[in-house]
Symmetry: none
Subunit: 206 residues, 2 copies
Amino acid sequence: MDEYTASGYCIRASRGGGCGGGGTGTKCGRWNPTSEQVKVLTELFRSGLRTPSTDQIQKISSQLSFYGKIESKNVFYWFQNHKARERQKRRRVLVDDGNDIMHLHHTNNLVSSTKRFDLIVIFILPMLTDFGDEKNQVSETDHEQRVIETLQLFPLNSLNDADSEKLRLFSSDHNNCKENNASFTYNIIGTTEMDHPTLDLRLSFV
Amino acid sequence: MDEYTASGYCIRASRGGGCGGGGTGTKCGRWNPTSEQVKVLTELFRSGLRTPSTDQIQKISSQLSFYGKIESKNVFYWFQNHKARERQKRRRVLVDDGNDIMHLHHTNNLVSSTKRFDLIVIFILPMLTDFGDEKNQVSETDHEQRVIETLQLFPLNSLNDADSEKLRLFSSDHNNCKENNASFTYNIIGTTEMDHPTLDLRLSFV
DNA sequence: CCCATATGAATGAAGG
DNA sequence: CCTTCATTCATATGGG
């Protein structure tokens, strides 16, 4: 397969074997930093260095070459990646923090009192399509054969009784108002209050 | 991150014991998706989503957090891996083809050969929210109240034209049939046939 | 137990 | 600086 070992990098060894020590030169085209190198880089990063200049990169690189093969670009990339990933991580954690309560609500006791969905509508049209299904292999999640799954995505049980009532009413109204010969079924679950601008499901969802 | 570096390996607690075995909540370091989570992710993937944007990731993540612990990065990695492995598999198959016999027409079966869901619309309108909508940060106190307005939308791209029509009709009927002074709004999403990875959470919503 | 495979996580390297 | 891809490491899981 790939045989491009431009500059015999790699110092890898297989599982359990030390990295630098024993041979087994698996050739890999990419730099595989030794732990010492990483340690130093990390230290530099921690001390504040983020975007080293070319000069700095050179120096660092040559310093680190003491511990193993390394090129300037490796250092360059290392900082770039490290910086970017740190930022990303931070960003995510921040957001995730907010989501936690969702999880809590769920795990603790089923959804409960604090839910605030005003309206949830779920439509599931029955399949009037015949499944050509010739795919050699369908996804693992398939043991469900063609059933109109209800993909229980969200908790609907947050409605209070009053709301539920309304909903029910509305629902039947809805059902009657039109000849139901339509080939689909639907449900509407809803509550009051919703005058806010049509939701924009796109990006900016809170 | 981790203590062990690139070339290092983590030999944390030998086999077996590690994570404690009680119950379902493995508290190990590694995310263990629930079947619902996987199901949803798979469905998204199958409907064409490949590389969700940061926003989408967050949304998805927060949606899925309802089913259990999950972080944005998990979603990120999930898609990354899933995509990569599909590619990898494909590549391998191609190679095999080359070695083996010749292939017939290249199997260009796009994603959606079999759809389970024809249409699912889920609306969750936020209630007492004041959409501060600050991109930056929200005070944690706010979090508690806001997170809930998470809305959900799942891409369903399997409607055939006929269905879309019916749906549309139904939609308008619905609107007329009743005086809409009701205090709720609704929308119907009809996605029309798009047989390949173009679909993402954004479009399909109208 | 050991092994094979699936898949979560990480990260070097690029491309834009 | 951002995002994406390829590869690799590590762990979870099921079968023998």
